[in-house]
């Protein structure tokens, strides 16, 4: 049985903000199914009482001295932006017109 359907892959693509093509969906559905069936092997391990590891270095609350250090200038920070205006990143509209009106 397939671990993941073509429709589920289309949903994942939307969640991932990837405007994938129909052709890609066909390819990815098969490939993701193979990968997910393989990685599902982790389920074979009896680990109910085992604590999870998110990170190998046991450091917590790493703080620095509260001193001013040089940062990027606005020009530097905007230097790679696809579009900028008045020292800000310019983005496409974020509200639909019917919502905005």
């Amino acid at each position: 049985m397939a671990a993941i359907s073509r429709e589920e892959v289309a949903h994942l693509a939307r969640l991932s903000r990837l405007a994938v093509t129909e052709e890609e969906l066909d390819t990815f559905a098969g490939q993701l199914d193979v990968i997910l069936q393989a990685v599902a092997q982790v389920g074979e391990v009896a680990a109910a009482d085992i604590p999870p590891t998110s990170h190998s270095v046991p450091l917590t609350n790493v703080l620095r001295e509260d001193v001013v250090v040089p940062g990027l200038t606005p020009q530097e920070a905007l230097s790679g932006a696809p579009d900028a205006e008045e020292q800000r990143f310019r983005v496409p509209r974020i509200l639909d017109e019917d919502v905005a009106s």
Binding site: L18, I35, A47, T53, S54, E76, P92
Partner: protein, 493 residues
Amino acid sequence: MTQTDLTRLTATQIAGLVASGAASAVEVTRAHLDRIAAVDDRVNAFLHVDTEGALAAAAAVDARRAAGEELGPLAGVPVAVKDVLTTKGVPTTVGSRILEGWRPPYDSTIVQRLRAAGTVMLGKTNMDEFAMGSSTEYSAYGPTHNPWDLSRIPGGSGGGSSAALAAYEAPLAIGSDTGGSIRQPGAVTGTVGAKPTYGGTSRYGLVAFSSSLDTPGPCARNVLDAALLHEVIGGHDPRDSTSIPQPVPDVVAAARLGATGDLTGVKLGIVTEFVGEGAEPGVMAAFRESVDALAKLGAEIVEVSCPHFRYALPAYYLIAPSEASSNLARFDGVRFGLRVGDDGNRSLEEVMSLTREAGFGPEVKRRIMIGTYALSSGYYDAYYGQAQKVRTLITRDFTAAFERVDALISPTTPFVAFPIGARTADPYQMYLADLFTIPTNLYGGPGISVPCGLSDGLPVGFQIMAPTMADDRMYRVAAALESVVGTFTPPAL
């Protein structure tokens, strides 16, 4: 001295010539730039060659020497940098279209330290897009070719860095290792690649793939050069909150000690699970011969079972994509890189989706979707949560093993360099290239690959894995093995 000779030297020899004045840093740099011009159309190790910047850096070293200043141990030595690290004003693409043409406004910590040490950055090396891959075939800018056989892969994701070393385009290089991306390319190109302890080298300015695993580290043609480079780039960085606030172990002294060829009192454990059916016969033959050589140097050899290592690959391919799906959300067409479809009518979300669709290649898309799946409610516990528990068990396997032995050993890869195109149709077949390197990343300890022999004329790598913050141990063993088997030179290009 002819220019060809300069590209064949070790980093240590080059630094010696520059310090004594027998060769200028500019001469050394020109020799390497000429070599790149002569062979890189066939190798494709470099995505960007910074001719002007390299010659200026070299001239600065020569000026400092002329002024009588003390030079560091790698001053004047050229270095190639994987395109995953930011370089101020120099293009940084991460092998992706989504960052094509981006010139970062700052240097990564690793690059700052390379500059401060007087090394000469030649340029940026090719890699699988966002460091996701084991062959460099997933680069958006075409594959890198293995100098041992140009029809074969140079490993990945850092195939450009390792191929540049094997092709004598650079004596030193920087890589980054999330699941084997330094060690596996090192193995299949006959070069040395070391993954430091996680947190032992700074991630500041390293474009993030999987933040709990990503580790920048040194690549070289011999163990001592790798140790010297490790010493230059390693150590605490307040700009990386996961950086370990302790000094780097003395890896250079350990490499020198190992080179004496005495391993008396050192106990090494062969990972039982990695010498069964996993590796091809030619790889196993070279590995076994090397184990015998280490025993002759005085090392005690035992077998150690690490029962959960067989689950490392599946756990990794849940954890790394999960972290990637989150990290790569920053590529949204707003702050840097590509923006597609912004015609004044489309919404931010539509522009974002079109940008990411156009900017990311297939492997990156697959991993983002796998990660999104593994983190989604309903699947989280069975996939990501369970993988994190397996990570704990793998760590416990390492901890238990290091109570018995000083270091663990295995082949670096299950197979030698495969032909370009052989594994791209089946992504999971590609993942198997990292079978032996991944456990170290999940544990967070250091690992090194050192060339140990040839199988059908192609290099085989020997892996040494050490406890966290005991990077010096792996350099000692690696240098001892090198003192017996020597270094490996590919056929002339």
